[in-house]
Symmetry: C2
Subunit: 296 residues, 2 copies
């Protein structure tokens, strides 16, 4: 009788243990199981995390931290150590890239050498959809960072990750990537230095223009064998959390063209809604609007 | 000693049973668990399935049947009784729509009245991204079905679901939607009548054209307040499984313009790869190519 009880107890416990262990295992792997949805691909592809379980867990905590206020969308998400992105397989550029910065993370490590970083293909995408360096070659466009290289200068490994081509989109070089867009990136770093947490979401836009026929048209160039799309505009959304846990939101849209140096940054400010409607995305959904003490 | 063996066996079996039952349960629910990924939204939104558990399970079985050979992508997936779609929130049209037809499902029920069906908004999407009837009004474009109304005439409820605006894209009416595209849809139904199973994936394309400057440009109109994109082309991929379980693949690309009536259907056939590269999607991935006894 007693041994039957024991058997029953062991049975029930093992049943529950089976569920628990499986769930625990699956929690780490759920996103892998969905066909095509491999959130940690990039991490594996990069050869950083292969057998070290501790590193995997740390990285998941980091992803939760970066994505604390919600995913703008779930299409082809890839996570890196310091940023998370969603890749647009049709346009071979990101849908969005999300970074989390702190005063510590933007500190410059003098051992970091940006010049030694090379742009590299994201092998976690099928070759049909993968942007390559040769797509950009002789195109006349810069390989423009969405997660800025300059935001991740605390270690060589971190800056190197920003050079993956799934974090890159064609940008007008002189007068944009090296001027107005760069100034916006510098402004972000300044904000990051003086706030507890700064979250930045950057991405491309394809905005319509009225044609001579009075109709609205979206028109953009594609470059290289893989037809990498050249966005008409870029957006950047900055959420900063002060040491008093007050939130501040700023949104920018810049045209992907030569921008005169004397136009102040604030002239590119836009309501969040404009970016949401144009991109088809929703940003920082878990951060309710009443948390913001100042809105642009 | 013996009872210890029994206990151990019960323990191990229960452990495995626990895993198996939990997995079985989770297989049905995995897609729900991802934040923002509500695969069955539309079913709920439509008011068809609310409290009836049996209907939910049946519907899940139906989704597995429709999607048997893989999801082309996982961006904003919605399931209906007879088709599954992925919605492009930026362009306010589907990325792809997948149907599964059988000789029975394409049988015409004389009680079905297409004329009484009205196009309706998909309330499962945020109003920013939702195409509306007023977007199409006076645009000069038809509200073109991706899952064809004519494929779902076995019941009023099924045909009605094809009129949801997330299954619709702007199509040139006279000379395309009512001619060449319609002929392709009729051809699909004929195939469905004479095969055990027919799977059809339809969607929009935005193909580049060489400009006077020698560069490649993608250019398309957007209509209405929500800037609904007018695709330059449409694709249709047909996988049919004969009664002998042999598979046959046919792929078509048609320009969204007036097409002369005398151009035969086969002139629009294209290799699958062309559609995959242009759409950023991969189709019927679970159906290995060696299963096909005939490829176009």
């Amino acid at each position: 009788m007693f041994s039957r009880h024991i058997t029953a107890i062991v049975g029930v416990s093992s049943f529950c243990l089976g569920i628990w262990m499986d769930r625990k295992y699956r929690e780490l792997n759920t996103l892998h199981k969905i066909p095509g949805f491999k959130i940690f691909d990039a991490v594996y592809a990069d050869g950083i995390v292969t057998t070290n379980q501790e590193l995997i867990v740390n990285n998941e905590q980091r992803i939760s931290q970066i994505m604390k206020y919600g995913f703008p969308s779930l299409d082809n998400v890839r996570s890196y150590k310091n940023f998370v992105l969603s890749y647009d397989q049709r346009n071979r550029i990101p849908h969005w890239v999300l970074e989390h910065l702190t005063p510590e993370s933007v500190q410059y490590n003098p051992n970091v050498d940006r010049a030694s970083c090379d742009f590299y293909e994201d092998n976690s995408f099928h070759e049909f959809f993968r942007a390559t360096n040769s797509d950009y070659k002789n195109s006349g466009f810069d390989r423009g960072h969405l997660a800025a290289a300059g935001n991740h200068k605390s270690s060589q490994e971190l800056i190197k990750q920003t050079f993956v081509l799934s974090n890159i989109a064609p940008q007008v070089g002189k007068g944009f990537n090296r001027s107005a867009w760069n100034n916006l990136e510098k402004y972000v770093r300044k904000k990051a230095k003086y706030n507890k947490n700064t979250y930045i979401c950057s991405g491309p836009l394809f905005l319509p223009k009225k044609g001579d026929d009075g109709k609205l048209w979206i028109k953009y160039q594609v470059i290289g064998d893989h037809h990498v799309a050249v966005p008409t505009h870029f957006f950047k959304i900055i959420v900063s959390e002060s040491t008093e846990s007050k939130f501040h939101l700023e949104c920018y849209i810049m045209p992907n063209q030569v921008i005169p140096d004397d136009i102040p940054l604030k002239d590119f400010q836009m309501p969040l809604e404009v970016i949401e409607r144009a991109s088809g995305l929703q940003f920082f959904k878990r951060l309710t609007l009443d948390k913001f003490n100042k809105l642009n």
